[in-house]
Amino acid sequence: MLSSLATVLFDGFAYGMLLFMLSVGLSVTLGMMNFVNLAHYAFAVIGGYATVTIVNKLGWNFFVSLPLAFAVAALVSVALERVLFRRLYRASDLDQCLLTIGIAFITIAVFAWFYTSEPQSVPAPLPRDKPFSILGAQFGQYRTFLIVFGLAVTAVLILLLEKTRFGAQVRAAVDNQRMARGLGIDVERAFMITFALGGGLAGLGGALSIEVIGLDPSFALSYLLVYVLIVVAVGGLGSIGGSFVAATVLGITETAGKYYFPWLGAFLIYLVMVAILMWRPAGLFGKR
Amino acid sequence: MLSAKKLNKKFGSLVVAQDIDLALPKGVRYALIGPNGAGKTTLINLLTGMLRPDSGQIFLGDEEFTSLRPDKRVHRGLARTFQINTLFPQLTALESVTLAILEREKSAGIWWRSLPAYHAAADEAHGILASLRLAEVAHRQTKELAYGQQRLLEIALALATRPRVLLLDEPAAGVPKDESAELFEVIARLSADLTILFIEHDMEVVFRFASRILVMVGGRILVEGTPAEISADERVREVYLGKRHRAAA
């Protein structure tokens, strides 16, 4: 019982790390520009398919494909930001939602065209049948990798945001965009870089999640979109710490729910989200 | 008519209202003056319920309504206008004012009767617009009106609520000087029973149209009196008029 609890917590935490990488970019860009980007998860899908292509078609190693997945997703996100999104920063929430849902739909169809709508997979990056075993509890190798990797990404992000000049600019822009402009910060440039970083991280998350969640063109819409939005809304806009906590809690709740109350489905998660938002509309760590 | 006792409000560590005591008798034309950031608009927001005071009480007549919702205060007879146009861009002037009248009559929740049945309200709205020289543009969308006309529509909307007390937040903000005098002529002609408090920076206008003047500095009411008293007051000269005289010199 205790050992199964440890495994559930562990798996949930690993899952939370994935959700964190998938959503942190959206949280920060939403906080900066108030741009409701429902197409954010499309970057995850792009990263996922990039890895599938590199591993299965080119035969490269899974871990080598990760930086490439990041780069491809980052490039696409910057292109979209330049061409489409920046025209709509002043538009209504609704217009932003609609445009980005439209892009999401297009992404789904494009990948369905090139890769069929069958679920895709890659050969196991790390052996599945040799979990670490500590005191009877089993910890999968890949999930251990996810946790270490996720924590490292979090640490790098926090350092980047707290200790660098660029980070200070981003924080100022999230806090008060007009003031930041007044101080001579090039908000557009900071935003573009943040957008690329966030898109790249989502791509990385998409690549890493193939082994855990799977990958097909529409899984993202029905599944990721909702979960990513939950993390962002519950964590609070523009808050890396908030996203981290929300993603971890969501990951563990989801895993525990599946293990202990399978008949509840996602009911529990939606209930918690609705309750938290009613209590704190700006999210747990949001200021607005 | 409208009075306040010991109103206090802080935004974080910034004090925007401190121990404000206020009593506006019926029919008096008050000017509220003071340097930028003195808390004039905040005071209007507190009185109308758009902000909640940290402490203190507000009364209209004998009734305390410190914690009453803004829309209910309007029904009790307290109306305001906004410094920055806060109008309904895609409604016509007539629709906007008619809406305010229907809200006053508590018939704006009725969804089963058609608007033409409320021609009395529409006529009243037209009358208000005519009294503010807006009859000709009554059928235009608000966003198509000239800026000065939009300022007048601000007042028309407030008048449509049939206020007993009217708080005007810089009614002539952004209006050229010659038009602003005209606008205040209109305000001066309003019913003598109506208590009016207006925020205004132009001292010429203030001394011409106010029967009493309130001076606010740093969230406090510095002094209150007739125009003659205020212009003779040393403290006021120092913080307010003094600066202007020096700037002019």
């Binding site: 439209g102 297009i106 369905a112 938002l277 | 829309d71 029904h75 305010a100 058609s114 021609h119 009554a138």
Partner: protein
């Protein structure tokens, strides 16, 4: 004064009067009976979807509340009608009443929460409630049939007209319901309440300052919209004699939003025109390959937001202004 009275009066009268094109439009809705008897079941689906979009227009187009969970009320209506038909009796008019009451109660209850929020929190909450209800219906399979949907009942006829395979009665039923609800909506739009809703959309800050109880107005609008969405759901149940879990899905909420925006939100005919274009296009494209339907609808959304911000009807009226 007599002069002013006539001016002020006609101002509203001219807006309320029916336009000749409106008569023509409703006359055209009868054409499928003659011209496309094989497509009557599609036509009845369109009428139902149009009614659903019309109900969303009331809160989104006129009052300005974004909702990504409007299917909740459609589904409540559909399941109420289905449960009544399955366990008690299959007379559809009482089913409509039951659906309206159930959806209305759900809408009224939710309205107390929803109208207090804006922006992302509002989008997330409406979506969250929609998802919650979907999951609840999925889990409560004893009552709802779960993922298989509610089956095993048959609504034979309405007022003596049989729901047959040709769909004549089905289309007539859906069309009459749509038309009646349209009349109600039209009346609402041109009523004092409709004016107040537009006021809230145009400037929510000003409304309290003219004495408007904005939240009460919004709650009322939300409840009315929920009732109409429930009626649409019930009509789908009656004309198909099944209730699928999909009636509560996020996809349905997103679809109806797309339909309304496509046609033009805040215009009485926006939802109806949007439903016709969307459903006919989907029927055609699905014939070729259902996979790529999403591609076209996505492209359409991007195009509408970038180039047709007020939908098809908004674009048409802009064209007409240019021509004049």
């Amino acid at each position: 004064m007599a002069n002013a009275s006539s001016i002020a009066g006609t101002h509203f009268q001219s807006k309320v009067r029916w336009h000749p094109l409106e008569y023509a439009f409703w006359a055209c809705t009868l054409l499928p009976f003659v011209l496309a008897p094989n497509y009557l079941s599609l036509a009845s689906q369109i009428a139902i979807t149009a009614l659903f979009a019309l109900s969303l227009d009331l809160i989104l187009g006129y009052a300005g509340i974004v909702s990504l969970g409007h299917a909740a009320f459609f589904g409540v209506g559909a399941y109420s009608a289905g449960l009544l038909a399955k366990h008690y009796w299959a007379e559809p008019l009482s089913g409509l009443l039951a659906a309206a009451v159930a959806a209305g109660i759900a809408g009224y209850a939710l309205s107390h929460v929803v109208v207090r929020f804006r922006h992302l929190a509002l989008i997330m909450l409406t979506m969250g409630f929609g998802l919650l209800l979907h999951e609840a219906a999925n889990s409560a399979s004893a009552l709802t049939g779960g993922a298989d949907g509610l089956q095993g009942f048959k609504v034979p006829a309405v007022l003596g007209f049989r729901f047959d395979m040709f769909g004549r009665a089905a289309y007539a039923y859906a069309l009459v319901l749509l038309f009646l609800c349209f009349l109600v909506c039209r009346r609402i739009i041109h009523s004092p309440f409709g004016l107040a809703l537009r006021g809230i959309r145009e400037n929510a800050t000003r409304m309290p300052a003219i004495g408007a109880p904005s939240l009460a107005h919004l709650r009322k609008a939300y409840t009315i919209a929920a009732v109409m969405a429930g009626l649409a759901g019930a009509a789908l149940t009656h004309t198909t004699s099944t209730v699928s879990l999909e009636t509560l899905s996020f996809g349905r909420s997103a679809d109806v939003l797309v339909i309304l925006i496509l046609g033009g939100a805040g215009r009485l005919y926006g939802g109806i025109i949007g439903a016709i274009i969307y459903m006919v296009a989907r029927d055609q494209f699905s014939g070729i390959n259902p996979q790529y339907w999403y591609f076209w609808i996505g492209l359409l959304l991007v195009a509408v937001v970038m180039f047709l911000p007020n939908g098809v009807l908004g674009g048409l009226s802009a064209l007409r202004k240019k021509a004049q």
